[in-house]
Assembly symmetry: D2
Homo-oligomer: 386 residues x 4
């Protein structure tokens, strides 16, 4: 019901590819603690290219599916945590491509966007800063990284944290503050002025390159590589924000749909106390609750996407969707683990990883509490206007 | 987004009527413990007729709005617990009209449906039976009321409980078991063979006539007043089931939207510890969670309605919606009470009543647990077929 | 384990009295919407006196049981919502007696405390103020009622709300602000200068006299009737606070233990889908969760009581207990209602009333959120000192 | 309040040791995915021995602290996930020592118990079986491993799963079914007839040796190494069951107390939106809820322990405690992660690991649902006897 014929056709191809080709890679030893190796990612992408499902949400003419259509496709790509990597629908690249598609000029697109769309490069978005520095986390106004103009270049200094995929990325988008306000810069990576201090050991493990802490030390960027205008950085971040939030919801919903399939199959087969687990209401009810939660996630994503498709920034709607979906996915994944008992906490199935990924997702892209805070502000504003 | 122009226009008129004309009746002393008096109901209906919003979901030509359109209208009628009474969109009449519209023959429609659609009569649906008899509650197979053919009549004996609106109803639909299976009969009320033993004192108080326990003692019904065919009663109950469940969701969602308006206004005005309540995250977050829950309820109702509109019985989908919506409405109403502190537990606002009504709704039309039980069965069936 | 022999003996007598003598009164028509009539209360108290269970927590020599002992006794008195009324362990009298026992001088005790301990009079505590005035609710610093000295008298003006039991009370404790700070006064009631504007219609209905809104208009009180010293009112309120909070927890825990008994008996008897409800995990698990919650409530009450018994004010501990117990009781009562299906929302059993009472309890004596707020402050303080 | 002077003194020493000596090991690279290396464990134990805190719950004369005393000590040992390893209070050794102390004969104690108490060896308990075989998980009646007598030996065959610490253990307790019923055998490890097929990759990582799947292939055990009598295996399992469950609760409560310390310190320091996190109610309330949950865990453990100390098996009470505590610990750990935002999902602090461990604990030693199932049975039994 949510989709168009063209999106449905793409989604079906993506699902078939993920189920047949990608899922077997879940047992590949190149899936490491900090995410799969780039070698494996590129190997999967070759197969995706051959199957016609690489970057499937961007059409050959460069146009982007609508957000509702994108949902149909990205949910399916998420049926494996590796699916978005294979299909090039993963974060942060998907959001970075979206941002460049909307803000970059033609030269910038040719140099930085093209290799991303072609799946030949990965990118990183340098915004968040270390808590120990008192830098920008959920509150972007606390940004400490600075940039100053020096002739035809900008010079950037600061530290960043949680920079997903920085290790191995070829394209960087760096955010820093000038006297005008926030600025964004496009950077070729690696660059000796951007030093990876360490890759964080995190509970999730689906992102190649993991999440890095980096030091930016007198990074010189030609003025032509500024994205848009000086001081407009937060405005551009807003453009990226809602679609990127939603695409996270889409991908991880796919993961939880898969977890529910696995847990349901387990519950229908495993016996305990004289009958299959699913016939125990204590188990069957958990699966029923998941069934409802999954449907609600689909509906929230589709609704928020439809708002974006009207041209709205959708800040409020994507906040609502992010909270509702990430919290629901946690409930779903948690119940899938519980239904499977001991097996649920092992890596014998992908359910255990999905649980860990979804735990992190409740914090990534704005913790639940920050979104509720901004929704409460909205309620107050609306009351004043009423 | 969910609706058509015609439904939107009707809904706007209904909302204006409820806000301007119905809400003042909430303080009318004729609102009793067992629901408002019929005198007051008929007085409000006169005004609804004049305003063109009586039975607004059934068009002058007798056709019914689609379920998605109905949602748009019924949610608005529910902005006051009295709204559905005034507009003739309330239970059980709304469901009974739907059933008769689909199953009754023309004579039956003229005699029993017409006065209902015109808002001149109320009706009751005699299905549930007393727990103390071991009769049919959530498990209809336990039905103990029997009917046997006697010449050109049927004779019915049994006891029923939770018969909403029986006191004061003019039309009855009585369910009983024959050797063929379940049967339904149309009955003019009052009838001396249907004796109201007592009206239950329940936590809710929106239904005129309350919920009665009745004894049926050798009730004789002409065979022409059997609804449909003998033994097909459960099939007809299925026809009524999903739309009636959904319309409950619609009306009480309207109630909770109102509660949220009241609680938000309170929180924006009332000060504590140096600032308005809404600026305390402990309060603002509750309202934000309600904002999300309300949206999810709208989406679930719209989705389940769209399934019914395809011609499906929608049993699974309406179960999912009933669970999700009734549990969400409880959360919403509970938080509205809590936000308002002491005022929240008083009848100074309608929030207190909405809380009580919604508590009952988690049980009426099938408790949450019965729906989860049937959803778990569905999961098992789907697994077998996969 | 929690108690002494003497307390256990008293508690056993109280329980026998409540079960045999008080519970039959639950169906007495004198139980009204604003609580039972005083006539019925005094009738029950005669029987309590005869049974030796009147004011059982205060010994004949005027000494008070320890708080841990009190818990043992008050929980049992709460097995019926009428039990505390019959035994004179109810709010606000129990807290008022405690306060007078600690702060009043001998003359004041003879005049005001004696009739309360003897169960011949009811009392009211005039602290909370109407939200519509911007008066003191959870934030006592917002108190607007004022007192000023006039010769050998004090003159008090203001409005109060939620004054439990004001209607029918013979003893009043009135709080007002002088230039020194908060003051407390003992007042004979009724007094024409204290006018009951209205009794609020609230979701709960166990308190005789209900909860009133009153206007205090030039009330003149002899200086000898000031409780303690001028400006010390909040200090005395602290003395009353923790024991009063805890005794609410005790009484309503008793109520929920009773609800669990009723729901368990129902679930063991009522059949559905081929077996007793209790054999459905969906039902049995709810009762199991209640069993755990009940135990945790007992433990929290006993622990907080033991802190008070050391002589501590127990502000933090009683806040923790109030939140934990009131929220747990809500879960328990809610599940008891749900287990009993349609019967659960009727007044055929006392479960429905207990549900409503417990809903109000989450707000009375400080809403959950206010307690969490003060606990968070405590965490911050402790961190600074560490 | 819960403890004796001697237990308090031991607990204080244990806490000092864990804080000063053990916590630094948390960053030791020998902490692997399948738990810390035995080399590191033995190194820590040397220090524990020197500090007088090795096997602190068993006194030099071989007597065991009471369960309430044990709680005081084990909670403190759990302040680091490594603490129980260092102090020899960890699972499964602690439970195995308890079992041998109660059931083994003197020769068996000398051979198998002594090296455990001295902290020189680790042990494993071979009960659970692989789900893929349809073997015993939560339902022990499904046990498939068999033993048959062959002269003066027993021969055992079967497969086991989730055998914690099997890799590296020197002492094994193997459960198998004879014609008489379940039997237990003491085995020197390693033994070529017990082959470790693989060590499971699980979400938790605190147990040295991890959790293994093993095949037992014609294992021959001298009859003198049978623990107790043939057919009494389940009875002995009961002896071990409740104390082992409770000691898990104790240790992981210690872990969550530590997590709360870390999260509180973070929230008091980290700024966002103009004030420290702890001053945001959205954060402060989470910490307040944890404060309450931690207290409730302590109380439940102490209560269940006191029942065991009366000599009761405490099956019901330890089930109640296991459910209440494990679910509460999950809430606590989850909120600590959330309070710390991005930092919470990294291994920069121990909070992330505690979250993963606690997730597994909701399944280990009987999933929540199995305990609720047995509590519901208890409710039914009690009702029948009432």
């Amino acid at each position: 019901m949510f989709s168009t014929d063209r999106a449905q056709a793409i989604a079906d191809k993506v699902e078939a590819f993920v189920r047949e080709t990608v899922i077997p890679y879940e047992k590949d030893p190149r899936c490491g603690f900090h995410g799969p190796s780039d070698e494996m990612v590129m190997e999967m992408r070759e197969k995706a290219r051959a199957a016609g499902v690489l970057t499937p949400h961007i059409l050959p003419d460069g146009s982007h599916l609508t957000q509702r259509e994108t949902a149909t496709v990205l949910i399916r790509s998420g049926l494996s945590p590796l699916g978005p990597l294979a299909c090039n629908t993963m974060a942060p690249d998907e959001g970075n491509m979206y941002l460049l598609g909307h803000v970059a000029n033609e030269e910038q697109k040719a140099q930085f966007l093209k290799p991303l769309v072609e799946g030949r490069a990965r990118s990183a978005f340098f915004m968040t800063e270390p808590a120990e520095d008192g830098g920008a986390g959920s509150d972007p106004s606390m940004m400490k990284t600075v940039c100053r103009q020096d002739g035809n270049h900008w010079v950037i200094n600061g530290r960043k944290a949680f920079i997903t995929g920085a290790e191995g990325a070829k394209v960087g988008i760096v955010m820093a503050k000038s006297d005008d306000g926030a600025c964004m810069f496009l950077v070729d990576l690696p660059d000796p002025a951007i030093r990876i201090e360490r890759v964080l050991d995190t509970i999730d493990s689906s992102m190649p390159g993991g999440h890095a802490v980096v030091r930016i030390d007198n990074l010189r960027v030609p003025a032509s590589q500024m994205l848009g205008a000086s001081g407009e950085g937060f405005k551009y971040a807003q453009v990226r924000l809602s679609p990127a939030r939603l695409s996270h919801c889409m991908r991880w919903l796919g993961g939880c749909i898969r977890a529910q399939e696995i847990a349901s199959a387990y519950a229908c087969k495993r016996m305990a106390f004289g009958k299959p687990l699913v016939d125990h209401e204590g188990v069957g009810f958990m699966l029923a609750e998941n069934m409802i939660d999954i449907r609600q996630c689909e509906l929230m994503i589709d609704w928020a996407a439809s708002v974006l498709d009207t041209g709205s920034l959708g800040t409020v709607e994507s906040s609502m969707a992010k909270v509702a979906v990430s919290e629901a996915l946690m409930r779903i994944a948690d119940k899938c683990v519980q239904v499977m008992g001991g097996t649920g906490v092992t890596q014998d199935t992908i359910v255990e990883q999905i649980f860990r990924e979804v735990r992190a997702f409740r914090i990534y892209d704005g913790p639940t509490e920050v979104h509720k805070w901004s929704l409460a502000k909205k309620i107050k504003r609306d009351h004043k206007h009423a």
